[in-house]
Symmetry: C2
Subunit: 271 residues, 2 copies
Amino acid sequence: MNLLVTLNANYIKPLKVMLASLFYNNAHRTFTIYLMHSSLTEDEVAGLAEWVGERGHRLKEVKVDPGCFKDAPILFHYTVEMYYRLLAWKFLPKDLDRILYLDPDILVLNPVDPLDDLDMDGYLFAAAYHDIISITEINRIRLTPYKIDAYYNSGVLLMNLARLRERIREEDIYEFVDTMKKQRIKLIMPDQDIMNMMFNPEIKNLDEKIYNYDARYYQYYKLMSGGECDMDYVIRNTIFLHFCGKKKPWKENYSGKFHALYKHYEKMAIG
Amino acid sequence: MNLLVTLNANYIKPLKVMLASLFYNNAHRTFTIYLMHSSLTEDEVAGLAEWVGERGHRLKEVKVDPGCFKDAPILFHYTVEMYYRLLAWKFLPKDLDRILYLDPDILVLNPVDPLDDLDMDGYLFAAAYHDIISITEINRIRLTPYKIDAYYNSGVLLMNLARLRERIREEDIYEFVDTMKKQRIKLIMPDQDIMNMMFNPEIKNLDEKIYNYDARYYQYYKLMSGGECDMDYVIRNTIFLHFCGKKKPWKENYSGKFHALYKHYEKMAIG
């Protein structure tokens, strides 16, 4: 399977933890990881490639020259990295038909095999949205007048590269951002907001309990599922456990239901 | 390393989880597990032996005939199984010098190697006590007039079998229990109480944070250590994580800091 990650040096450690959990729970398969970045040093990339290689997988660097984005409008304090996920199809090999993008603040708890057969016909992306009432409501109000039924989280994003290449023009994205600027619509997570506003009907909906479980809401998922989605369910069924929000499990004073499990994989990853 | 476990059929599943965590975190060594019991069926023992064998370790059955305890006084509703840990040295091969007893409600998180070199000269057992104020106080009061500075937990118990054979007579234990009965001293955890009352000065004290971490008291350990004993410390240093108390992580509605980690090992153990 092909995987896409984009990061700067601050996220190398969490990336290793994510990959260690992916490799451990998918021992039956091999991954090619496309590392899209513009700021890592040669040593950092070589170190990561060695670490991945030692575990039987491959890392391919996709170095992005910031000059590629000379026509891109800059939004507030955001860097051009906000365009990486939206324009990844432009930088990846043309023979790749689909790729799985993963944030580094994720643990992979089960085999990713179900994604192999996921029918993406007619869709640009597959993603899950977090059906917590407050999140849905806030984003509905925030992004008015753009009609958004579901505000998808872009931390786990299966990309239909073949269709993205056909369907999207780089300029359309830049024009859209320019319109945002003129309308003074405030984007909080710019790439995720843009993806939702521009492509909402073309995003295939995945079950968040399986594909993008928000680690902050254990009790909520359990309650809403009538008890079914308990710890046993998560460990045996959830594929992507996502540590959303500002509090991260690799930081001091983190506290959460999956803290011990995260530290377990962290030890596996970095010794 | 030699390991001793004693159980009935209700604890086969937790035992597998404990062993799976032991094997995973001690991949560099081989274990011989002495399974002391009186009530398991042949099929249950054969099933366990196969499970252990598939993982590259050995199981040896130590079937105890209840008739062996015909002279033992019976205390309240307790069965003669209360004598297993106290008299294990009688049933184990004479050429074993030391053995590690482990309760099945434990996860082994790190290599057990430090126990190889532990100096047991002059001691019958090595164990840890839980230095939670309430536990210590309750047992001090409860077991008066027996002077107990530390009430050791017998869930992790390194046994100096050579010395136990020299030092202890079966009859001494029975006489002691008879005295308890006459004095109407109420024993709550009979084997653990007896071990503490009879042998307290001959128990070598182990650091509970490493050798018998009570999974209920994460915040307490962290606070008492000035923050040092955080989740990182536990995952990287604690060898035996002990799920003490009535609430067990394999039961429904359990909730605790190590719930996800327990379920992770449970999946590893029983698929």
